[in-house]
């Protein structure tokens, strides 16, 4: 298991490096998703399957998708057209491809070995997490939900398109 | 009746206050009435007080009138108190009487001038200050009067303030006398810290007890007081202001710069004579200063063109005589000369004023001439004044006083032949420049017409002063002519007699003869050179136009170039220094703090770039530093 851990760690590092060095936002996003997957594998190894699942579902599945949507919505003009042309180039594919492939292999290995975990590490399953979550950390849950509500309202308000090109009272162009 | 003493200076001050408050709203006549009237009443009171002083027993005993305590600072409690003794009595008699005559004259002289009441206000302030100076019982009150007359001199010289040249002349007078005043103030400090009092009589007593003859402190105090006196009396080296002070109206020149203020220095030295007797070196300095000044000024006077400047240099020269007398210990002679000088110099100035105003403000003598017929009263009084100034023998007051001085310079223990010779040479030169002035102005052919003749208010003072210039000498008749030294004896209680150990009366007679002869020779000389000026031989013309002669003439004309000297060595370096320090490096301590904070602000405002990345970087740096501190310290 230790080897899996180190491989995942390496992939996480490399892909994160790639995230911050890309020119194209979509590329960076995709690399980040790879990074998220590798971190999920690490979680799994550490005996936190619930956290791993959450990482994939929420982080990679919701937040990054949101990112992608917004960037697509931005409709970055000529750059986007260029990007189209480059999308099908093999050089661009290599990096994410290799990383994803290795990740994929890991997935297979981990899943096949479900139940076997890192030596000396206890598995803390969802049941335990749930009990503690709605026990001592109840207040935190409520606050988190409040935060999400606030985020929702804020995002709605800020995301509104105004008729008058965004000018507010007293603001100068 | 002696209690009326305090009214003598009070009345002119009251006149000043009234004229300052309501001067703009009253007519010129009323202003003149108040102005001249206050001095007139003051003069009358002076006579009354003087009479009482002489007659009431104990006759001639000094009278002190304390009004109130001025301030109380520890042991320093000067009072406003007036001291009347023979010396101050003579002074106030002259000041009030001559002052009144000049006020009367200026009622007509300044008629039609704007600022008429302002003029009288300032003149009253001056008379009040001068009387305070003379009557002061302690040196602090004397210094108050001293500064007051200095202020009035400034105000009156710059009376026609619209012409900036007058303002500059006024400032020059003030600044130069200020140098002397500063020295005098230091002298007062010295006296107070060493003797503990500034009351004049006490001071004299304590000084003669505590300080031996020739002591350093007495010399220091005396030389500082001499500095103050030299400034006020326009002696070397502070004589540069007086010729330029002629920019003021003529009555001002007559009163302030001839009769009264410039003699304040003489009065000061006479009052504090004990200090000077205790410092023989300084006393000799006084004499040498007087002798040098009188020669310098008389030589310069011969070259001047402006009639008032001749009289200014003449004043400097005559006060040089007084200083010379003081320097050899002839205190009464100096005061005697002061009195006669006040009469004839005021007369000369008033006469010059009549000429100037008659020719519509013409000052250049070379443009005058032949005014004898057109201004007869002015001519005759001017002639009498000139005769008195030149000390023509026997008939004029100037003869008696000047000869007394010269005789006592010769005979005194502290005198010397050199000083006497200087004085005698000065007498010759006096006669030359005086009669040059007279001939150029009144004799010869008329070149201009008189437009305004003097009225009665101008003629009365002229005639009165002319009479006084003739008979005033008779109060001190020397031994060779009758021996009636009433004035000297009168002053004995205040001013000790001259120490003469080897006085030969015959020499006195010879000296009188020589000086009278020289005076007459001077008149001849002036007549030859200045009246018969058109008929010069070719040779004389050549000499006159040679570069050396013109250079010397220029040098003397500018008063031996003292102005140039002072400008080059004192004024210019100071101005350069002031310009250099325009940024004011001491101020920099405070402005430097402001500058530093401003530059610091500029540095700090860089950190507010508004860029998010910059702030994030700041956070990162901060975190690194904090963790570093937490880890490694």
């Amino acid at each position: 298991m230790n080897e899996v851990y180190y491989i995942s760690a390496t992939i996480a590092l490399i892909s994160t490096l790639m995230v911050i060095t890309r020119l194209n936002a979509i590329h960076a996003l995709l690399y980040f998703i790879v990074s998220l997957f590798s971190v999920a594998i690490i979680f799994f190894i550490l005996g936190a399957p619930f956290a791993a699942a959450l990482e994939v579902i929420i982080y990679a599945g919701a937040i990054m998708v949101l990112f992608v949507f917004v960037i697509m919505m931005l409709n970055l003009g000529p750059e986007a057209i260029e990007q189209e042309r480059q999308l099908f180039r093999p050089e661009v594919w290599i990096g994410p491809g290799v990383l994803s492939f290795v990740l994929f292999l890991e997935f297979i290995y981990v899943i096949r070995n479900y139940g076997r975990h890192l030596s000396g590490v206890a598995v803390i399953g969802p049941k335990q997490v749930g009990i503690v979550l709605f026990g001592p950390y109840l207040l935190g849950v409520e606050l988190a939900s409040l935060l999400l509500l606030v985020g929702l309202v804020g995002a709605y308000h800020l995301g509104r398109r105004r008729r008058s090109s965004g000018l507010r009272k007293g603001e100068k162009q | 009746m002696l209690e009326l003493l305090c009214m003598i200076p009070f009345l002119p001050f009251a006149g000043f206050v009234i004229l300052t408050l309501i001067g703009r709203r009253i007519t010129d006549r009323l202003a003149a009435l108040i102005g001249a009237g206050s001095v007139a009443i003051s003069a009358i009171i002076t006579f009354v007080v003087g009479y009482n002083f002489l007659v009431l027993p104990p006759a001639g005993h000094p009278y002190t009138q304390v009004l109130w305590t001025w301030m109380r600072i520890g042991s320093f409690t000067p009072c406003i108190s007036f001291y009347l003794d023979p010396l101050s009595l003579i002074m106030i008699l002259v000041v009030t009487f001559v002052g009144f005559l000049i006020h009367l004259y200026s009622v007509e002289f300044m008629k039609g001038e704007e600022g008429y009441s302002r003029f009288f206000a300032y003149m009253n302030l001056f008379v009040g200050s001068m009387l305070t100076l003379v009557l002061a019982d302690n040196l602090v009150l004397l210094y108050l009067g001293w500064e007051g007359v200095g202020l009035c001199s400034y105000l009156l010289i710059g009376f026609w303030y619209k012409d900036p040249a007058n303002g500059r002349a006024a400032i020059k007078a003030f600044v130069v006398t200020r140098v002397g005043d500063a020295a005098m103030a230091v002298g007062l400090f010295l006296l107070f810290t060493n003797l503990g009092t500034l009351n004049i009589q006490e001071l004299m007593g304590l000084a003669s007890q505590k300080w031996p003859i020739g002591s350093g402190i007495a010399a220091a105090a005396a030389v500082l007081l001499l500095g103050g006196a030299a400034g006020k009396s326009a002696q070397l080296p502070l004589q540069t202001w007086l010729p330029d002070a002629m920019a003021g109206p003529t009555p001002v020149s007559a009163l302030i710069h001839a009769a009264t203020m410039v003699t304040a220095g003489v009065y000061l030295i006479a009052r504090t004579h004990v200090l000077f007797t205790l410092a023989p070196a300084v006393q000799t300095t006084v004499a040498i200063t007087g002798a040098a000044t009188l020669l310098l000024a008389s030589i310069s006077a011969i070259t001047q063109r402006d009639i008032k400047r001749v009289l200014a240099y003449s004043t400097i020269s005559q006060i040089g005589y007084m200083f010379l007398a003081l320097g050899v210990g002839a205190w009464s002679a100096a005061i005697f000369h002061f009195m006669t000088h006040a009469f004839f110099k005021a007369l000369l100035f008033l006469g010059a004023g009549a000429v100037i105003i008659g020719l519509d403000r013409e000052h250049d003598m070379y443009k005058m001439g032949g005014l004898r017929k057109q201004l007869p009263v002015a001519f005759w009084t001017f002639l009498i004044g000139s005769a008195s100034l030149s000390a023509l023998p026997l008939v004029t007051a100037g003869f008696y006083s000047k000869d007394l001085i010269l005789w006592q310079v010769w005979a005194s223990d502290r005198g010397s032949i050199l000083l006497c010779a200087g004085g005698v040479a000065g007498a010759f030169l006096t006669s030359v420049y005086t009669f040059r002035m007279l001939f150029l102005t009144f004799a010869g052919n008329a070149t201009s017409q008189v437009t305004r003749k003097p009225g009665p208010l101008m003629k009365i003072p002229l005639i009165t002063l002319a009479v006084l210039s003739l008979i005033a000498g008779l109060i001190d008749i020397p031994a060779t002519l009758g021996n009636l030294p009433t004035l000297s004896e009168f002053l004995h209680s205040a001013l000790p007699p001259v120490p003469m150990s080897h006085a030969n009366p015959l020499i006195e007679g010879k000296l009188q003869f020589i000086t009278s002869l020289l005076a007459l020779v001077g008149i001849m000389f002036a007549y030859r050179i200045f009246l018969h000026s058109p008929q010069h031989t070719g040779r004389a013309e050549e000499i006159k136009r040679s570069p050396i002669a013109t250079a010397i003439h220029c040098f003397l004309f500018q008063g031996w170039n003292f102005d140039l000297l002072y400008d080059k060595f004192i004024v210019q370096p100071f101005v350069r220094l002031a310009r250099f320090n325009r940024g004011d490096f001491i101020d920099f301590i405070y402005t430097g703090i402001a500058l530093f904070i401003r530059s610091f602000n500029r540095v700090l405002s860089f950190t507010q770039s508004g860029k998010v990345r910059w702030y994030a970087a700041g956070l990162a740096v901060g975190a690194v530093i904090l963790i570093g501190i937490a880890e490694f310290l």
Binding site: F43, I58, L147, L148, L158 | V612
Partner: protein
């Protein structure tokens, strides 16, 4: 478990570098996500070390917070884009007053 923490640290630093270096706001937000992810990793590692569920709980909270923050941040990004017509964060540097 130091290896886990080291990894978390490295990821965090990479994210921090990304925040500071990149001018494009999208990348800034992305880098912030990297950082949040790294800190979550650190928590889970710690929880695993001590055998408690608390690490995962904190991770859940971090996740919730990241979600809220991303939505608001992207909304702001859209506003910025409409206003300045560019995604350069340095253009929004004029401060009022």
């Amino acid at each position: 478990m130091e290896h886990g923490l080291i990894l978390a640290g490295m990821l965090f630093c990479i994210g921090l570098a990304g925040v500071i270096v990149r001018r494009n706001i999208i990348f800034t937000l992305l880098s912030i996500e990297i950082m949040l992810n790294a800190s979550g990793l650190a928590f889970v590692v710690a929880g695993s070390r001590w055998g408690q569920a608390d690490g995962q709980i904190i991770f859940i909270f971090i996740l919730a917070m990241a979600a809220a923050e991303v939505s608001v941040g992207l909304a702001l990004l859209l506003q910025l884009y409409h206003k300045f017509k560019t995604l350069d964060s340095d253009t929004a540097s004029r401060m009022r007053g």
